[in-house]
Amino acid sequence: TVGCVAVDGEGNLAAATSTGGLVNKMVGRIGDTPIIGAGTYANKLCAVSATGKGEAIIRGTVGREVAALMEYKGLSLNEATSYVVKECTPKFTTGVIAVSASGEVAMSYNTVGMFRACATEDGYTEVGIWAGD
């Protein structure tokens, strides 16, 4: 799976995700990527793209859950993504990238690794695969 989330200087948000699915999946299987609120979600607070085991991500409504925690519980983007990845999906199933309207970036996963990269207007850049990269 691949994905990208972006916010501009005016707080406009967008999310996109694309995938081939799972190796050896059944013909006709639908994963989380095209399911709004699961593998892909964006509103006025945040934009989210997920990767991992689609069935777990759908059950966790991962994308919408991040937005709901920000909207109703007042969590920051990082707090919301960390909570969803740690508490709402089984271990070794989920990776999430997200940005908020205020320009925060979050990249969280409970798998061994996630191919990921981010950048912000203030000059921060990160490219990594495993924890500690």
């Binding site: 691949v2 972006a6 948000l13 967008a14 995938t19 190796v23 013909v27 006025k44 320009g103």
Partner: protein
């Protein structure tokens, strides 16, 4: 706080022992795709344009599981999915089961912008792609030798598996449960 962008190329049981000839092209692609997005944001492109642009670049890279390089179904075919969403309006578009559309994410955007619907799948999505004149290719375009081998390994292990997971690590003794767990 200004603009920001994040991208991913998949998650899973990525071995730290991944050989450099497999690792370095993926790291280079992450840098390249990030740069595409950063430049587009700096140029004032909308976030919707930026995420489509970056995902197209990731789809075109055979090292990631989307577009060229998509993993294979149990029958050795390609069935790709994509989705795009605008935060301001909650407009969105999604496609599933496409096998000849070069960039599924661009088809998803057309679903969002050119139909009264949110989600098209399989034959309907393919038919819509042709109506819209979006670039299509033979499905062999998406299939790599690496993914043929991965399918073979997954079948031998009787598993379905997520991106980059090594089949031998997750083999179960009691049958094809794979990702039906959760």
């Amino acid at each position: 706080m200004g603009w920001a962008i994040a991208l991913h190329g998949g998650a899973g049981d990525i071995p730290r022992s991944m050989p450099s000839n497999r690792l370095e092209p993926r790291k280079a692609a992450l840098h390249y795709c990030l740069q595409i997005g950063v430049e587009a944001l700096k140029a004032g492109r909308s976030p919707l344009d930026v995420v489509e642009l970056v995902v197209c670049a990731l789809e075109d890279n055979p090292n990631f599981n989307a577009g060229k390089g998509s993993v294979l179904t149990g029958k050795g075919t390609v069935e790709m999915e994509a989705c795009i969403m605008d935060g301001n309006t909650k407009s969105c578009g999604a496609v599933s089961g496409v096998s000849t559309v070069k960039n599924a994410i661009s088809l998803a955007r057309l679903v969002m912008e050119k139909t009264p619907h949110i989600y098209l799948g399989f034959e309907g999505a393919e038919e819509f792609a042709r109506e819209q004149g979006i670039e299509v290719v033979d499905s062999s375009h998406f299939i790599t030798l690496e993914n043929i081998e991965r399918l073979k390994q997954a079948k031998e292990a009787n598993r379905v598996q997520i991106d980059f997971t090594q089949p031998i690590h997750q083999e179960l003794k009691d049958g094809p449960k794979g990702d039906q767990i959760g």
